[in-house]
């Protein structure tokens, strides 16, 4: 299926009006109109993502498994084995961890194109540790033949949903809750699963980010630029398969790669990049910025978590300056 042509007005509207959850559902509606194989599976959290919009248009292609994520994934695999393209959608910890074995055996090992969509990942809510998606991407990366995508803004959410319609492999799509940060893309572009995007060229340091941290990386690059540090910013929307050539190309030029993700430093983007750099001739040092290997024990707003964990643009810029010394 050809990529839908997007206008700057459409991209601007998406970036200004919707939050991540709603943008995902709108993307699903747009795609389901073009592809009758697409099916939406909820686990009693459909209303959180506005799935009513999808259900109203495609009632026969909307399923709600109730609070039963394991059978929901197996059910999705059964549908996929018969030619359908199911997207199973719920909060990240319930999407990736609870049905992990079903994802591994029924989707990845069996080889069926099920899309597991984990929303509200990171520390995006006040609901406490049960609802934080800390390690979801890393766990999914560890499953053989699983693709892991973390889109950076509203446009890229749509692009990912679109690209996954025809993609023959099982995949995990990582979406954040809350409001969409400053949009990264202002005009249409060619999205390719597994192909990282160099958003800003630079020579002093590589900032490799995914998801909502791409915006933060761009803002950090601006701050660094004011101090004469020329940062290269790469949107690594696909954690697996990682676009190692693009990372290495940048790493050889700058000598320092800083990975930035709202995910534990164990197993996510930083770890994937570490594997890539370690296998090549020594060319760059890696410093990982992400959620620490500990459970946050108090409840606070996401903005405070980002400050605490060094994930704001200002904190990122300060970390980069320290690493460059």
């Amino acid at each position: 299926m050809n990529q839908m042509k997007l206008t700057p007005e459409q991209i601007r509207e998406w970036g200004a009006s919707f939050n991540w959850r709603t943008m995902f559902t709108n993307s699903m509606v747009l795609m389901a109109q073009r592809d009758e194989r697409i099916v939406y599976i909820a686990a009693d959290l459909g209303r959180a993502f506005g799935y009513g919009t999808f259900m109203k248009k495609f009632p026969e292609r909307t399923f709600n498994a109730g609070i039963a994520e394991q059978s929901a994934v197996s059910f999705a695999a059964g549908l996929a084995s018969c030619g359908l393209v199911p997207y199973f959608v719920t909060f990240a910890p319930f999407a990736a961890l609870r049905p992990c074995e079903q994802i591994k055996m029924d989707c990845a090992y069996a080889g069926y194109p099920v899309r597991i969509v984990g929303t509200d990942s990171g520390v995006g809510s006040c609901m406490g540790n049960t609802h934080y998606g800390y390690e979801d991407a890393g766990v999914m990366c560890a499953i053989p033949e699983m693709t892991v995508i973390s889109p950076c803004d509203a446009t890229e959410i749509f692009k990912a949903v679109e690209a996954l319609a025809d993609y023959p492999h099982p995949a995990y799509l990582r979406i954040f809750g809350g409001d969409i940060p400053m949009p990264v893309y202002t005009s249409d572009y060619n999205f390719e699963i597994g192909k990282a995007v160099v958003l800003k060229k630079g020579k002093d340091v590589t900032l490799a980010a995914c998801g909502n941290m791409v915006t933060s990386a761009l803002s950090a690059a601006d701050l660094l630029g004011k101090e004469g540090i020329d940062a290269e910013v790469i949107n690594v929307h696909t954690l697996k398969p990682l676009d190692c050539p693009t990372i290495l190309n940048s790493a050889k030029k700058t000598g320092l790669v800083v990975s930035i993700e709202e995910h534990t430093v164990c197993g996510g983007l930083g770890t994937q990049i570490a594997d890539c750099l370690a296998a090549a001739s020594p060319c760059a040092r890696l410093y990982k910025i992400g959620l620490p290997d500990t459970f946050p024990l108090t409840i606070t707003h996401r903005e405070n978590w980002l400050k605490n964990f060094g994930l704001t643009p200002k904190a990122i810029a300060e970390t980069v300056k320290k690493q460059l010394k």
Binding site: F63, G66, Q70, S71, G78, L79, L84
Partner: protein
């Protein structure tokens, strides 16, 4: 009661005996790797009735979209499936000799690739019913009339995901889903009554909204009748088949240790003698 025609009945009965011989043969060929003999022998009539009197399929076209699906959710009884597929023409007899051997496609549980006729890989307990629900729901969505049969173990019903699947089946009115429970009363560590009591499985499935029937799992007439009389009333069907683990070989019957074991020559010969040589004996 819908009895099978005499020639079908004979075919099913002979097939069940051949399945038992094939199971013993594969276990012997598996050497120290052994095989899940007890669980395979308990579902011999169930699987034979399905493959010789019920399922619609074409061994030359294993991916036919409109074929009935058979999920051996109790995937450790894979030797029953291998025998049924081989004898139905999906692959040659010589492949059975390679069971669990190096480079063999015949793994100890139904694999995802390499064996024609396997509708879905299984072996980790608790997947068959919800996967089957997906297949049955796809049929409804696409207007196809194939039926999905899921053979489960009673121990396997310890897994909550199976009951999640039953709830899904009832909710989505999957009357094209048939669950057959190989109710042999044993699981890996001991009797089900000791490990996790099944209690009244028929009552449980009925409470979950299924059309439920209890049969003698070794009576071909009862199995055939239950499998061919599936009600199309918007509810899934559950057939509780009372069986004996290790059925057909007296020294294996109801013995926990024959859940999985190797077969020495002496035991193999005694077991084959108990089942009878038949025309195609190994």
């Amino acid at each position: 009661m819908a009895r099978p025609a005499p020639e079908i009945r004979e075919k099913i009965t002979k097939s069940a005996a051949q399945l038992r011989r094939d199971c013993l043969h594969m276990t012997k060929m598996g050497g120290s790797a052994g095989g899940h003999v007890g669980p395979t022998l308990s579902c011999a009539e169930i699987v034979s009735t399905l493959y010789n009197g019920v399922l619609r399929f074409d061994p030359k076209k294993p991916d036919l979209p409109g074929r009935d699906r058979m999920l051996l959710s109790k995937g450790h009884a894979v030797q029953a499936l291998y025998s049924a597929l081989c004898r139905s023409g999906f692959f040659p007899e010589s492949v059975l000799d390679t069971f669990e051997g190096i480079d063999s496609p015949l793994a100890g549980h139904p694999p995802a690739h390499g064996v024609p006729g396997i509708d879905f890989p299984t072996g980790s307990m608790g997947h068959g019913i919800p996967v089957g629900c997906g297949m049955a729901a796809a049929a409804k969505l696409k207007g196809q009339n194939y039926i999905v049969y899921v053979v489960t173990g009673d121990g396997e019903l310890n897994e909550g995901s199976m009951w999640e699947g039953v709830m899904l089946a009832k909710k989505y009115k999957l009357d094209n889903l048939v669950i057959i429970v190989d109710h042999n009363g044993l699981q890996h560590d001991a009797e089900t009554d000791v490990i996790m009591p099944s209690l009244d499985l028929a009552a449980k499935f009925k409470a979950f909204g299924c059309n439920t029937v209890s049969v003698d799992g070794h009576d071909v007439d009862e199995l055939y009748d239950a499998l061919t009389s599936v009600a199309k009333n918007g509810a899934p069907t559950a057939i509780i088949a009372k069986t004996v683990k290790g059925k057909g070989v007296p020294f294996m019957e109801n013995v926990v240790g024959w859940h999985h074991n190797c077969l020495c020559t002496e035991d193999y010969e005694a077991a084959i003698k108990a089942i009878g040589c038949g025309e195609e004996s190994k």
